[in-house]
């Protein structure tokens, strides 16, 4: 599964994108975040406060309880500050 990171989430994780293979028990975006945060110090720092993390599956916003099955691309980023 392709995962992309943006803004300070990207800086803390240390890469802009990567392919990861979460274990079968990871069903939701929230569980995926918890699993990612155990992959290293950068991940733990990026996801230290999961409530502020926004997510998108295949380029549409989703909530933490969204299911990841079938997702081609999942993105994680901070609250948006455009406009």
């Amino acid at each position: 599964m392709k995962v992309r990171y943006f803004a300070w989430v990207r800086e803390r994780v240390g890469v802009a994108e990567e392919d990861v293979d979460p274990p079968a028990g990871i069903a939701t975006v929230g569980e995926f975040v918890a699993w990612l945060s155990q992959r290293g110090d950068g991940y733990a720092y990026a996801f230290e406060n999961p409530k502020v993390i926004r997510a998108a599956i295949d380029k549409s916003h989703v909530h933490a309880n969204a299911r990841i099955a079938g997702a081609g691309e999942i993105a994680f980023f901070p609250p948006m500050t455009g406009g």
Binding site: K59, S60, F77, P78, P79, T81, G82
Partner: protein, 172 residues
Amino acid sequence: MAATVTIAPDKTIRLQREAFDIAAEVAALTRGRADIGAVVTFTGVCRADENGEAIAALTLEHYPDMAEAEIARHVEEARTRWPLLGVTVIHRYGRIAPGEVIVLVVTASSHRAAAFAAAEFLMDYLKTRAPFWKQVETPAGKEWVEAKAADNSAAERWAAQAPRDRLSKGRS
């Protein structure tokens, strides 16, 4: 009499590094159209300060394909709420210096109420839902701009209003 009439595209969404020309964008949207009676433009401009701190520039990061898709979703939502005759949204990315333009929203309708409301609606959603992130260059270094609670409340108030409210039928 004009021999040819160019029908302007009624929806333009563009993400670009370079600046844009507001007058040219309005002209492109309204050229050859006799049905448009109101054009509202909103232009976001880079300030020289963020939270009272001087900045040398800001850099906008974005999620390319999602940004276009997300803006398109909100343009469609605006068109279900108000009788719009044209919409242009241009958002820049990359490094932008104080005084330079950042974002442009142009809405056209027969009457002004719909054009004003739709422009405000689109900007409120651009701020909170379009995947862009600002980083500013301060004397202390680069800092990511924090999302403002006021921007979230501005976007949320539209959710409380049913689409096609009375503005859509109002006359200017």
